[in-house]
Symmetry: C2
Subunit: 337 residues, 2 copies
């Protein structure tokens, strides 16, 4: 196996991140030592992905403590700076959550805050590994103990987490077991996380793969090229419906038509039992220019309006199983989360 991708890591009293804005064309690491540097990295999406942002928020508190000590910040200034990290991307719940997980340890000193941040990162990693194990076991039991061809959408790998991945983590686990024949990676318009990030991760790991336009997934699936499809989730609600990157629903519909398994892989913290059904999930609508431009070049007439939701919701009836670090929920057997 290729060396592990270190998306985010604490080293020499700095937060070292892989700059995802430069992928796939360049692989560069940045060491962050000030609150401003942490915020800039988060805002320009050098670090992204819900679990990774949570960890960045937690380590950000340590950086604020260190900078405050160097620069003799007042207690008020310190709390203000930590709050700036918390709200660096206001829609990213995990960022505020990560800050919140460690700030309670500040009274016990910097070492305890760092320990809590490292624990949070370790917990995310271990949860990923457990999901991967459970998902891989389920697929091999369901489809037979043989190399599989799997399709995935968006990026749910090391780059979105602390070093393993959710849906892509299952694929990595299967690859380690010698059970991946090939991965079909949707390019994932409009922001191309599949082309830019998933393809890069798969190439880095030496996992055989092909990239495809999102519109080609239905044909690949219904003509028998694919054994199963796997996605992550941004939120799973009480009835089992799952919100994920736009384009996920189309993959689920094709899997249903082809009668092959469609898996959602996400940590228990993604399950929000306070929301009844998928239609109650608020879907973020994004800007026109994500769709009307490519690499800065216009692809549509000036002034073109778009329909550009960030996520779609896959109804539970199109989902075979939800895999968390705790268990496999078999939706088709009525086991909702």
């Amino acid at each position: 196996m290729a060396s592990a991708i270190k998306t985010i890591e604490w080293a020499d009293d700095r937060l070292v991140i892989l700059d995802q804005t430069l992928l796939p064309n360049s692989e560069e690491y940045v060491a962050l030592a000030t609150v401003d540097e942490v915020i800039a990295a988060i805002q320009r999406l050098a670090v992204r992905g819900a679990p990774a942002l949570g960890v960045a928020g937690a380590y950000g508190v340590v950086i604020a403590l260190d900078q405050g000590a160097r620069e003799n910040w007042s207690e008020t200034r310190l709390l203000d700076e930590i709050n700036r990290i918390r709200v660096a991307r206001p829609t990213a719940v995990n960022l505020a959550w990560g800050v919140g997980q460690v700030e309670g340890f500040m009274a016990q000193g910097r070492a305890e805050v760092l320990r809590a941040a490292q624990q949070l990162a370790q917990d995310d990693y271990l949860a990923n590994r457990e999901m991967a194990r459970l998902g891989a076991d389920w697929l091999l039991a369901k489809l037979g103990d043989r190399p599989l061809t799997l399709l995935t959408h968006c990026n749910t790998g090391s780059l979105a987490t602390t070093g393993w991945g959710t849906a892509l983590g299952v694929i990595r686990e299967l690859h380690e077991r010698g059970k991946i024949k090939e991965v079909f990676a949707d390019e994932t318009r409009p922001l191309l996380q599949g082309a830019r990030l998933t393809a890069w991760e798969l190439a880095h790991e030496g996992i055989p793969f092909r990239l495809l336009p999102d519109g080609a997934a239905a044909m690949a699936i219904t003509t028998g090229l694919i054994d199963a499809a796997l996605i992550g989730a941004d939120r799973v609600v009480a009835n089992g419906d799952a919100a994920n990157k736009i384009g996920s629903l189309g993959v689920a519909l094709a899997c249903t038509a082809a009668q092959i398994p469609f898996l959602v892989v996400a940590p228990e913290s993604t399950v929000d039992r306070s929301v009844a059904t998928g239609s109650d999930i608020h879907i973020e609508m994004r800007k026109d220019d994500e769709v009307t431009q490519m690499a800065g070049v216009p692809t549509a007439p000036v002034g073109t309006r778009t329909y550009n939701p960030a996520f779609d919701v896959t109804p539970h009836k199109y989902i075979s199983v939800l895999v968390t670090e705790k268990r496999v929920y078999d939706y088709q057997a009525g086991q909702l989360p």
Copy 2:
């Protein structure tokens, strides 16, 4: 209504085409007067779309006759030059068909060849208008006489034909009747015909529209935003299955899930009863760099392999009706072509 788009037209003894490679950023017409100019325009895709290519081939014979008269070509030279037009894009059946439709009139002189080419263009236009009328009537009868929100994929408008369109022709007809609320146009990766061409046509006609990533179509359709979806076809076979631009199948699956009409609109000449089912249709696989680059900028790691079929096949069970210039085939009532 805005002035009609003149994709291809005979004027002042020249073949005048709208250069589609410059759309949507620039609207420029090119007048072709030599065989070399006609072939270059076809090969660099300045003129594209099956019906439009047929007409270009037919007018190309007139251009060869005129150039031959100016330059005193031998009979052999003349036939060689006409053959060069015929095979300018070897996979485009319509190009050879268009040449073949008029060359039989050469013995009767240039005026008869020109008349035949003009007839061919006129016939395409009239067939389009008839399809549009039949499709619009069917939709309003089915969905109620009210302004509709329709989704389409790829480009099936004036730019692909001689000035009206197939699926987009139905939309234009409905717009003239005041029955279009809004059009959702899939951008149609990888070559973005929806973003570049359909959006341009809709803007030109003043038809309200929004552009969407192909992956967002399933969400738009299943959340109730869309009344019906319409596509064209490259080939319809004996059991009713239809091959069309990659991504069409996903639209059909979403329409089936949402229980809204999914229409295929194509001339009778597209129906190939010599092929039994869609699985017998040979699907052209295209180059990796259509998917791994955007506007010349790499979007995926160097060396990334792709799955890039030009077309997919929608099984007849997911198609509500096939609209041709002759009639509406109601698949759900067992009326296959």
